[in-house]
Amino acid sequence: MTRQPNASPQTIRVLRLLLSEPTAWHYGYEISQQTGLKSGTLYPILIRLADQGWLETRWAEPQRQGRPARHTYRLTQVGARAASGLVAQAQEAHTVEHPGTQGAFG
């Protein structure tokens, strides 16, 4: 059986965060902080999403002079549509498995 792409809990966490503000650009460290994922887990996910065309990236100008430019991310339209479906599915599965709780999806 083929595993559904981008359906791992870690990826769902990233997608949920990006979906919460779909038009905003997010920093890698910020995503890591909010999802609780370490950089070694987060970046492969970001690479995959970008490869699939779900993620848009850009270098943001530094807020203070002398600081390096930072890479930022947001979902593309295609990515946002697909991510919405995946997150909804994951939430549904969670509700079925743990009725009466909202857990991470609350």
Partner: protein
């Protein structure tokens, strides 16, 4: 205290930077951008230890990319290797059968082996067709994505399955054919020509195999050494003869199990027989084949008595 923390932060930050520099040397150039992105975040992180922890994620990028390449290579070369193994096994199988069974292989191919051997190329061809279709379909559905789960796994499974089938055939066919070959043929009488025991032999053969009267007469100018696969030693009232395996070596006989039978049409008598009927050396028949000790085990051969003498 504050100074100590600052020193520790410096050291760990330096370690983080060194680590990322090392990763940068070992990472795939395509992933360099992502490593730069990861490095750029260091400034936003408070504390040297946290920075070092963040930088250690860069190591994962090396592993991630290598794993990806490895999977590509497996996907690309795996089926080729499997197919080469299949081809080698197929050739080896046929070659070993030919070497082991010689001309009998023709009969076996015609009767049983052919269908089995035909299955393999058909199966391999089927695997090719399915693989091509799956690849096309996947490419259509998912574009040029290089994700592991986007790559079809079915063809590899099919290849492995056909390889396993060939292996089973390779290991099992010889044994199966051996078993087929030792099975006795239709009930026949292996006999030694001897007119003195004509009546006994005639009675035994008459009951054993359907022959015309003339055939029975001609055939039973013999002394049976075996009837229907049983040695005459086990039949009451018949004298025993030398051990067949030793006696058979290098002599000519008739392979009854495989249809070589000195029937009436092929048989005759030399004109100088005596009053008791034709002697063994006076029976003329179609040429038989050279026997060996193996024929004695089957007990399906007709052996001229003179040869036994």
């Amino acid at each position: 205290m504050r100074q100590r923390r600052t020193t520790r932060d410096r050291i760990t930050t330096l370690a983080a930077l060194r680590l990322l520099a090392w990763v940068s040397k070992h990472i795939d150039p395509e992933q360099q951008l992502w490593l730069d992105a990861l490095r750029a975040e260091l400034d936003a992180i408070d504390g040297g230890i946290a920075r070092l922890g963040w930088a250690m994620g860069g190591l994962r990028l090396i592993w991630f990319e290598r794993r990806r390449h490895m999977l590509h290579a497996t996907y690309r070369y795996g089926p080729i290797l499997l197919n080469m193994l299949e081809a080698a096994l197929f050739v080896g199988l046929v070659w070993s059968l030919i070497r082991q069974y010689g001309s009998i292989i023709v009969v076996l191919f015609e009767l049983t082996g052919l269908s089995l051997l035909l299955v393999v190329p058909v199966f391999i061809a089927l695997a090719r067709v399915i693989r091509a279709r799956v690849i096309r379909s996947e490419a259509r559905d998912r574009g040029a994505s290089r994700e592991r789960h986007d790559r079809p796994r079915l063809p590899l499974v099919l290849d492995a399955f056909s390889l396993a089938a060939l292996l089973v055939m390779y290991l099992g066919t010889s044994a199966a054919l051996d078993q087929l070959m030792v099975e006795p043929g239709p009930p026949t009488a292996g006999a030694v020509v001897r007119s003195a025991d004509h009546h006994t032999a005639e009675a035994i053969v008459d009951q054993s195999i359907p022959l015309s009267l003339s055939d029975v007469y001609l055939t039973t100018q013999v002394k049976p050494v075996a009837v229907n696969g049983s040695s005459t030693a086990q039949l009451p009232g018949l004298p025993q003869y030398p051990d067949p395996p030793q006696a058979l070596l290098g002599i000519q006989g008739y392979d009854l199990a495989h249809g070589q039978f000195p029937d009436g049409d092929g048989m005759g008598f030399s004109p100088d027989w005596g009053s008791d009927g034709p002697g063994p050396d006076q029976i003329l028949g179609p040429p038989g084949r050279l026997l060996d000790a193996h024929d004695a085990k089957t007990l399906n051969v007709l052996i001229p008595w003179m040869a036994m003498g």
